[in-house]
């Protein structure tokens, strides 16, 4: 079912559930992995992903098809992830530096993290980035999205995104160089 067909089917209350099932089938995995890279913990990613789709369900009738359905869903996931991280930081009362300091040991203990040393360094470096910059880096580097789509998801200009990604890459490279002793 194409996006256009989904938009038409959404208007029919009797088909709305079927549309949602299709939506979940198509986007559950990519949305989960995007959120997982943002929040790192599986249970947290699970909660955030579920919230994303519940909100998507509630807002499904408001989707006008002006953007791609995936873009719309990623925007929900982007906002939900940032809100979750902000809330977690407030509750834990930890700074980015403190988080990045403890992250390697946390990830190494995580049974659901199967990265090598390089990947561990990369995730630790990512944790030092501001959340929005991290989100841009994940979407560009891991998801390989175009700047235009990321601009729609984040509500930022393409130029600002390019600059943000460049800064993020530079920070990560510097972090790895500095922490090369791992």
């Amino acid at each position: 079912m194409t996006d256009h067909e989904l938009v038409i089917a959404m208007k029919d209350p009797l088909q709305k559930k079927k549309v949602f099932e299709q939506l979940l089938n198509d986007y559950q995995k990519p949305i989960y992995y995007y959120v997982r890279r943002m929040v790192l913990d599986h249970d947290d990613a699970d909660d955030v992903t579920q919230n994303c789709f519940i909100k998507a369900w509630k807002a499904l009738e408001q989707f006008r098809g002006e953007a791609k359905l995936s873009t719309w869903l990623y925007r929900i996931a982007y906002n939900e992830s940032l809100s979750f991280i902000e809330k977690r930081k407030r509750l834990a009362g930890v700074s980015l530096d403190e988080l990045s300091e403890h992250l390697p040991s946390v990830l190494q203990k995580d049974a659901l993290f199967d990265g090598d040393e390089i990947e561990l360094k990369l995730q630790t470096a990512l944790a030092t980035l501001p959340e929005k910059q991290k989100a841009v880096f994940i979407m560009k580097y891991y998801e390989e999205k175009k700047y235009e789509e990321i601009a729609q998801i984040t509500g930022t200009s393409v130029g600002a995104l390019k600059a943000s990604f460049h800064i993020a890459v530079t920070k990560i490279e510097n972090y790895i160089k500095v922490n090369n002793e791992w």
Partner: protein, 176 residues
């Protein structure tokens, strides 16, 4: 996902279970129930409307059928009567019975009535055609006004009337 290494693992059947949890948190049941109810109500309303129109059309067609039946029952009767009247009139017109034969079969009273009517029509003719030159006719001519005609007729004797009839070709008649 790109070709990048994915270090993040998930529990077995996670996505299936997670999808189930998402579905359990979304209240499809009520929405589906109310939507179904809505559809049923709309369908029922539509059927009622259709039902009303069927009843209306049934009423119209019943009325038309009743009118046709009534027409079939009652309409032929006057038609037959009219036809019979026409036929009777035509037959009467075509009959070979002439005035003589009718008078021969008539009773005295009928004859008196007949001649009275004849005289009435005669006077009407005289009024309309005052150029009649017969003496009786001249005598019968109204001198003043039409309303005096009846009075004049009353003054005519049988002989005068007979004289008029003889002069106008009706001399074959005999008045008893």
């Amino acid at each position: 996902m790109s070709g990048k290494i994915n270090p993040f693992k998930i529990p077995d059947d996670y996505f299936e279970q997670s999808a189930g949890e998402i579905f359990s948190k979304i209240d499809f049941g009520n929405e589906a129930f109310f939507e179904k109810q809505k559809q049923l109500i709309l369908a029922e309303t539509s059927q009622k409307k259709e039902g009303r129109s069927i009843v209306m059309w049934a009423s119209v067609w019943s009325a038309v059928a009743a009118a046709v039946v009534a027409g079939w029952i009652f309409w032929p009767a006057p038609a037959k009567q009219l036809e019979e009247t026409k036929t009777f009139a035509e037959l009467l017109h075509e009959t070979e019975l002439n005035e003589e034969e009718i008078l021969m079969q008539a009773s005295d009273e009928e004859l008196v009535l007949y001649f009275s009517n004849e005289i009435d029509s005669l006077h009407q003719d005289l009024i309309k055609e005052p150029t009649v030159q017969t003496k009786a006719a001249q005598k019968l001519l109204p001198k003043e006004k039409e309303e005096n005609v009846d009075q004049l007729l009353n003054n005519l004797s049988d002989e005068e009337i007979m004289q008029y009839l003889i002069e106008n070709g009706n001399d074959e008649f005999e008045i008893q």
